[in-house]
């Protein structure tokens, strides 16, 4: 379960100018739920995900990830989460097995457990054919499978997917989406950020829309459709960020920021 409470992130620029990228974001993602994080570019989604992954320190507010506070015990949070983005982020000179072993050791897993988990994931994700080849010789889809195995190696209860199909071909994207469904079936909590409305509609149990650092709407897709009167998810999204220019059903920005 993920409980996000009034999360704020400010960045200080080179001339000491302060930019508030995330402004009091709150939401709750329940166990076994795929929770969608939507927003245009620069809305603050990546900052939220990075704070929830303890890569960034919040300016104020906090979040509880499966019982651990991101501010008080970031290392415990990291033990519970898996992170997957569109970029595989593998070490090209190492083989998939070496990459996975490295991350297993960083998670302080015993070597025999690492081996068992790798064997199981290699089998499940069909990595065996190229498991001992350098990663720089793998295709994008093959790399993404290895990245999935890395995210799952320590059997995390919570998974963050930050635009995981961005830049992937249809086959590689389908692998990611199938994997995401399997994770939900296993009862893991999933935070899913994407620009692709079809993916969001197909997978997310609930969504929250972030615009200019602020949550403008949260709920199930049918609930939000009813609230905005939108017929498509794209229309729903535009109304949630106040950009559907011809509609009186646009949701006003909570901070009163004009579009």
């Amino acid at each position: 379960m993920i409980v996000v409470d009034a999360l704020v992130k400010e960045y200080t620029g080179p001339k000491n100018q302060v930019t508030r990228a995330v402004d009091g974001v709150s939401f709750t993602a329940h166990q076994g739920e795929v929770f969608g994080l939507l927003g245009p570019n620069g809305a603050g989604k990546t900052s939220v995900l990075r704070m929830l992954a303890t890569i960034l320190q919040p300016t104020s507010g906090t979040a509880i990830i499966d019982g651990s506070d991101i501010r008080q015990d970031p290392l415990a949070v990291r033990r519970k989460i898996g992170f997957l983005t569109g970029a595989a982020g593998l070490y090209d000179r190492l083989t998939p097995i070496q990459n996975l072993t490295y991350f297993g050791r960083l998670h302080a897993m015993p070597d025999d457990l690492i081996k068992r988990r790798i064997d199981s994931l290699v089998d499940r994700l069909d990595i065996g054919r190229y498991a001992s080849r350098s990663c720089d010789k793998l295709s994008t889809g093959e790399k993404q499978r290895v990245a999935i195995a890395r995210a799952m190696l320590h059997d995390p209860r919570v998974l963050y997917f930050d635009e995981p199909t961005s830049g992937l071909d249809v086959l590689a994207a389908r692998t990611v989406m199938n994997f995401l469904r399997e994770c939900r079936a296993e009862g893991r909590t999933i935070l899913f950020s994407s620009h692709i409305m079809a993916e969001v509609e197909a997978l997310c149990d609930r969504i929250t829309v972030i615009h200019r650092g602020v949550v403008t709407a949260t709920g199930t897709i049918p609930e939000l459709r009813e609230r905005t009167g939108a017929t498509t998810l794209e229309q729903l999204f535009l109304r949630c960020i106040g950009e559907d220019h011809d509609s009186p059903m646009n949701i006003p920005h909570p901070k009163g920021i004009a579009k």
Partner: protein, 397 residues
């Protein structure tokens, strides 16, 4: 102890990268000695050819001193060929390389010779031209010898012993035991090379380990693992410092092995032998430890601040210039210079290396150089760790 996991992974990557293997292992151990052998062999051949060449020497008013001319012509044999010239054109002929050097006698040379007075003779040559410089020196030596002989002959004619003209007979006897010309060359080159390798040996590893991770998008994956940033920074620092230290120690080995493997290519520097004690070699290796740590700290700081490897390389340019200049200064300085110099980063340790090679032990100098090097290393490591903790720096892309 997660830093050991990071260290082990970084080193595995180093061993898999041809470029890094070359820089850390092959270049200091093989390429540098081969370059030295090439330079030495070429310089030796050039010097030999220059000595063997018949110098074309213009003479001005030599005919007005017939006794001197008669003494010079046959004695010069194949070493010099004299051509008559005039004072107005010798300098331009030397500059345009028509002649190598010139002997210019004064206008009253004839009168002076007749009266057995000293004849002031000018030997003109071009310092910027190696052939002219060697020819000028050859002509000077030749004239000095002739002058001594003429003086001795005059004394004999006057009924005196010719030894009156040569009260001292000088003989050079180089002392054995401290090695030959090679050790002198080593004491100039080695400190420079060692400091350079100890600092830049970790360059590729440092660039790859943070700026490279940012560029490839692997840093984010790393930061979501349950390893603290302190441990991560420690592991990366250890990998860069180890690469620099290995590179420095191999460059020491690379400069020493030619003395023990008798190859003709190295004869110019090894012919006098070398007498390095185990203590000297161990001291030199020990000096490399704080140097490698300091270099690793600086390189890791730059790699952490940079957005990508290209930016890191741009910033490394001026840093490497400073490192090169400081270590190069050791080539020109006396090893036992002021103790204050010992505190200058890079230069102090380079001079300690120079002292070790010349069997000089100056405990105060060594103490200051070692102490300040450790302080600089600690500062560099602290700076790198601080940069690693700053999310605005670490996540700059």
């Amino acid at each position: 102890m997660s830093w050991k996991v990071v260290f082990a992974k970084e080193f595995t990557e180093v061993m898999r990268d041809k470029r890094m293997r070359f820089q850390i292992f092959i270049s200091p151990l093989i390429i540098t000695p081969l370059i030295l052998a090439g330079i030495g062999t070429m310089a030796k051949r050039e010097a030999k050819e220059s000595q063997a060449k018949t110098a074309i020497v213009a003479t001005v008013r030599l005919e007005s001193a017939p006794k001197l001319a008669a003494a010079l012509q046959p004695a010069a044999k194949d070493a010099m060929r004299f051509v008559q010239s005039d004072e107005a054109s010798v300098e331009s002929d030397i500059r345009s390389r028509k002649i190598d050097a010139a002997i210019v006698l004064p206008e009253d040379a004839s009168e002076r010779e007749e009266n057995e007075q000293t004849i002031p003779v000018q030997v003109r040559f071009d310092m910027s031209n190696e052939d002219s410089r060697v020819s000028g020196s050859k002509v000077s030596d030749f004239l000095k010898k002739r002058s001594e002989n003429i003086g001795a002959e005059r004394l004999m004619e006057a009924g005196f012993s010719q030894q009156l003209a040569k009260p001292i007979d000088i003989g050079d006897v180089p002392v054995k035991g401290n090695g030959g010309r090679g050790v002198l060359m080593m004491s100039m080159m080695l400190p420079y090379m060692l400091v350079l390798y100890a600092v830049i040996g970790g360059l590729f590893v440092a660039n790859d380990s943070v700026a490279g991770e940012k560029e490839r998008g692997t840093l984010e994956s790393l930061l979501v693992t349950p390893i603290s940033r302190e441990e991560l920074a420690r592991g990366k620092f250890a990998a860069v410092a180890a690469a620099a230290l290995v590179s420095g120690i191999l460059s020491l080995a690379g400069m020493l092995w030619p003395f023990y493997v008798k190859l003709s290519a190295f004869s110019w520097m090894t012919e006098g032998g070398a007498a390095f004690t185990g203590f000297q070699i161990a001291s030199m290796a020990l000096v490399l430890v704080p140097l490698s740590a300091m270099g690793a700290g600086i390189l890791l700081t730059i790699s952490t601040i940079a957005r990508n490897q290209k930016e890191a390389q741009t910033w490394l340019g001026p840093v490497m210039m400073v490192v090169s200049v400081l270590s190069m200064m050791s080539m020109m300085m006396r090893p036992n210079t002021s103790v204050f110099v010992a505190a200058v980063p890079m230069l102090g340790p380079a001079l300690v290396l120079k002292q070790a090679l010349q069997s000089i032990i100056n405990p105060v100098f060594i103490g200051i150089a070692a102490g300040t090097s450790v302080v600089y290393a600690v500062l560099a490591v602290w700076l790198a760790a601080r940069m690693f903790m700053k999310e605005s720096v670490l996540l700059r892309t």
